[in-house]
């Protein structure tokens, strides 16, 4: 099974590995986001405002660790088993669940505007995906 990964963002001169994803929350339904595959991150991270909007119940969870992202340190909590839905190359929905980190900004400067969901290497490892990537030819996909 293959999930096509997009190799561009609208900022035409920049290339990121990104995938449209639907997030599913038992409390607030669905949210459409663009996930970035970040092989530099060992953790899968959801943006704070997205977590709030999805009513993910992370506020009752004590801060478990700190994550240094882009030079800023964030307090992080874990939400167990966030459900994500992708579309594979056969146009079928593929549902996966994984623990995600929610980073809580500690100042107004830490707004994390740029991403909604970072898929870290934990996603690839735990869900058993291989990442194939040929940026020169704009070809990338997840496979398992």
């Amino acid at each position: 099974m293959k999930i096509k990964v997009l190799t561009f963002l609208p900022e035409a001169k920049t290339t990121y590995l990104n995938i449209p994803v639907v997030l599913k929350s038992p409390r607030s339904g669905f949210m459409r986001v663009k996930a970035i595959i970040d092989t530099g991150s060992p953790e899968t991270i959801i943006g704070y405002e997205e977590a709030m909007a999805l009513q993910i119940p992370f506020s009752n969870v004590a801060t478990e660790k700190f994550i240094n992202l882009g030079g800023s340190k964030y307090a992080a909590s874990t939400f167990n088993r966030l459900t994500m839905i992708f579309k594979d190359e056969e146009e079928k929905a593929v549902q996966e669940s994984i623990n995600v980190c929610v980073l809580k900004p500690t100042s107004d400067k830490q707004k994390m505007q740029g991403f909604s969901l970072l898929l870290g290497t934990d996603f690839l490892r735990e869900r058993g995906y291989k990442l194939f990537c040929d940026m020169k030819n704009d070809l990338a996909y997840l496979e398992k």
Partner: protein, 82 residues
């Protein structure tokens, strides 16, 4: 793994919204650089300086989260590194 139609419909809309954003990015960047926008059906229906404000506006208008794609539009010459 399981197949669910509503999710596929939402994913197709997301692909369409991203394609529209890509096609019109220069113009959108001129108007909304350094802002967060809510996109649906080939248009920006709401925008704000940050996601918190944007989600609040959408909630106030009763717009469902699943109906829009939220994107941060970087300013010209800005590259986002995570």
């Amino acid at each position: 793994m399981k197949t669910v139609n509503i999710e596929l419909t939402l994913l197709d809309k997301t692909f369409e919204d991203l394609a529209w954003l890509r096609k019109n990015f220069s113009k959108i960047q001129e108007e909304h650089g350094n802002q967060c926008v809510a996109i649906t059906n080939n248009s920006i229906i709401e925008f704000a300086m940050d996601k918190k404000s944007l989600f609040a506006k959408l909630k106030q208008k009763g717009i469902e989260l699943s109906s829009v794609l939220i994107e941060y539009i970087p300013a010209k010459n800005e590259i986002v590194i995570f």
